[in-house]
């Protein structure tokens, strides 16, 4: 098997709120992402999925654990060299395209900021060309570079967000709920665009979302999070046809389906989260790629 692009080992992310209160957002999560694949991270609100994305790209300092990206160790202290490599090769698409673009900057400068910092062009003309190309790739036109974010609709802004990530030619893009703020008819456009880009540039995605039908559609492998623990991970096929963890089963039983006949006869599987303590669980292997968290007994 090929070497993983990203290897997260026992990641913990705790936030100290006050002297005697710590939020344990992520508790010992391990997973791998291979080059060119899409790994979906799902879970309810508060399960830690966004935190994991932000810890990996080092918007937070992980409390414990090891993150290896592209053979660099990117947890702990970062040397300047590794930091630059990390920033170039890993990019993020944020949830809300209304608030993640600087309203005082032109689209061209928002997209070009990474190029400026990493000095990835030799002349202004080249910079313009790179930006124009990337705008075309995401379905906008090079002329849009002179405009400001507020002149665009939500879907177009998310395209800018994608262009901004893509211009660095990253190996991994973290997409944190990148379609949930968009209108339904726009969501399909953006997802199709992300798939096209992946087949063209072979970048990997960490696709963080709560919408399971979309995650299933876009992901190769999926990790299910609950209360800061990874309870199950496997290929999309394995998770959806053979969910092993009771939490995954209850989550899948609740996914709304656009088919009234199915919807009206559906049985919910309930899951009582208070009964289990994930602290005393270990991951057990079911198949080559399918792991589930089970209590130690």
């Amino acid at each position: 098997m090929t070497e993983p692009l990203l290897k997260v080992e026992n990641l913990r992310q705790h936030f100290k709120i006050s002297r005697n209160f710590t939020v344990k957002a992520v508790n010992g999560v391990s997973f791998e992402i291979y080059p060119g694949e899409t790994y979906g991270l799902v879970g309810e609100s508060g399960s830690g999925k966004t935190t994991i994305g932000r810890s990996i790209i080092r918007l937070y300092d992980p409390t414990d654990g090891e993150i290896i990206f592209n053979r660099d160790k990117i947890s702990g202290e970062l040397s300047d060299k590794i930091r630059r490599r990390l920033r170039k090769n890993m990019q993020m698409i944020f949830q809300d395209p209304m608030s993640s673009l600087n309203p005082r900057k032109k689209i061209g400068d928002i997209i070009g900021e990474g190029l400026d910092i990493h000095k990835l062009y030799s002349s202004q003309k080249e910079r313009r060309n790179i930006i124009g190309e990337i705008l075309k790739k995401v379905g906008l036109s090079p002329a849009h570079a002179e405009r400001y974010p507020q002149q665009f609709s939500g879907g177009q802004r998310q395209r800018v967000g994608i262009a901004r990530a893509l211009v660095m030619n990253p190996k991994l893009i973290i997409a944190d709920e990148c379609i949930s703020a968009l209108d339904v008819s726009i969501q399909a456009q953006v997802v199709n665009l992300m798939k096209d880009i992946q087949s063209e540039t072979k970048c990997a995605y960490l696709f963080i979302a709560h919408d399971l039908s979309m995650v299933k559609y876009i992901s190769d492998r999926i990790g299910v999070l609950h209360k800061g623990y990874l309870v199950e991970t496997g290929t999309t096929q394995e998770i959806f046809t053979n969910p092993a963890h009771p939490y995954t089963q209850s989550l899948l039983s609740a996914v709304p389906q656009p088919n009234p006949a199915v919807e009206k006869n559906r049985k919910l599987i309930s899951y009582d989260a208070d009964k289990v303590s994930y602290e005393n669980c270990t991951m057990r292997q079911i198949s080559d790629s399918h792991f589930v968290s089970v209590p130690n007994d």
Partner: protein, 351 residues
């Protein structure tokens, strides 16, 4: 079927600094007694504005150009805001808002909030109101109701808060419940439970329910009839089966396929290009034409009327005109619809 609410030819403009926005451009729909009707559309399609007109919560810059909203024999638009508040809102028509985080008052206990409406609308003693409030909390599935009465909203989870909001809406035994995106702020597992709860209560209290939502998964679960809105108009209406298994409007196709079903594999999603029109500029012809790959010349000139497909099924697209060319459904959508029909044993007419 007896109608409990009917909206006729509603037309609303908003005056803004940028100009007049023609947000609702002639909306008709009906709510049969005891049934559930869904208004589906994207942001800006006018679904929330339509409902706000029903409960008299339109912003002050709204001008109602024409239209009637009948609740029984009363035209709600002729009532003053005061009368509407006194006699209709809460008692006859109640609303559940989108975000349970912001629709509760953080300075009042949930008990006080549930009883507030009862004191306002009914001559009821404090003990009776309290008793009723506890019953309601039990009805919406909140454990230890007596204890919860004294809780403040911040002490409850999102799902619990939405249950409280539903309890408040039910406090004066309304006939119609309007749910404005009741579960978009909630997780899927909680969403499923809340939708089931509303359904159970509907059966128990013989409520008529209107759902405003953009989520077709929710619609599939709850609705009997569906109205699809686009740019301030209803562009397709039908029974739930007609809309999900035999949709006729290209916009409905796009909405349906934007939500992959669990069998959608590597095939691309059928997507609608572009984005919804800005109603600051009145669209000429079919408002959807610019995004419609099946658009014809007439779409740019004239607005399509509602074409009748069956007694209950109508769609506003020139594709249904007898002279229109036969079009082939996009392959991804076709296989999708076939799967859905098969799963449902639906044997209606094929598209």
């Amino acid at each position: 079927m007896e109608k409990i609410l009917s909206v006729k030819n509603l037309d609303i403009t908003f005056r803004t600094n940028a100009g007049n926005i023609h947000a609702i451009r002639g909306v008709d729909f009906e709510l049969p007694l005891g049934k559930t009707v869904a208004l589906v559309g994207e942001s800006g399609s006018g679904k929330s504005v339509t409902m706000k007109a029903v409960v008299g919560l339109l912003d002050s810059n709204a001008i109602i150009n024409s239209g009637k909203i009948f609740y029984g024999d009363i035209d709600l638009l002729t009532l003053s805001k005061k009368d509407l508040r006194r006699t209709i809102n809460g008692q006859q028509i109640a609303m559940v808002f989108q975000d349970p985080m912001t629709s509760l008052d953080p300075t009042m206990t949930i008990g006080e909030q549930i009883m507030e409406g009862m004191f306002l609308h009914k001559k009821i003693s404090a003990t009776d109101a309290r008793q009723k409030a506890i019953e309601l909390l039990k009805l919406v599935g909140i454990m230890e109701a007596e204890k919860r009465m004294k809780n403040y909203p911040h002490q409850l989870s999102g799902g619990m808060r939405q249950r409280v909001v539903i309890a408040i809406a039910l406090s004066c035994a309304p006939k119609i419940l309007i749910c404005d995106e009741p579960t978009t702020a909630l997780d899927v597992t909680v969403q499923a439970r809340i939708l089931n709860l509303i359904k159970e209560i509907q059966a128990e209290m013989n409520l008529s329910v209107i759902y405003i939502t953009h989520d077709l998964g929710v619609v599939a679960k709850v609705a009997d009839f569906v109205n699809v809105m686009y740019a301030g108009k209803i562009i397709e209406r039908g029974t739930i089966e007609e809309i999900f298994y035999d949709p006729r409007h290209p916009y409905t196709w796009g909405l349906l396929s934007a939500m992959p079903d669990l069998e959608t594999d590597d095939e691309r999603l059928y997507s609608i290009p572009g984005s919804p029109p800005n109603l600051l500029h009145e669209p000429t012809g079919d408002a959807f034409a610019a995004r419609n790959k099946f658009a014809m010349k007439i779409d740019e000139k004239a607005e399509p009327p509602m074409f009748k497909i069956s007694e209950t099924h109508y769609a506003a697209t020139w594709l249904l005109h007898p002279d229109a060319p036969k079009i082939e459904l996009p392959a991804e959508l076709k296989s999708r619809l076939e799967r859905a029909r098969k799963a449902a044993n639906y044997d209606g007419t094929t598209a």
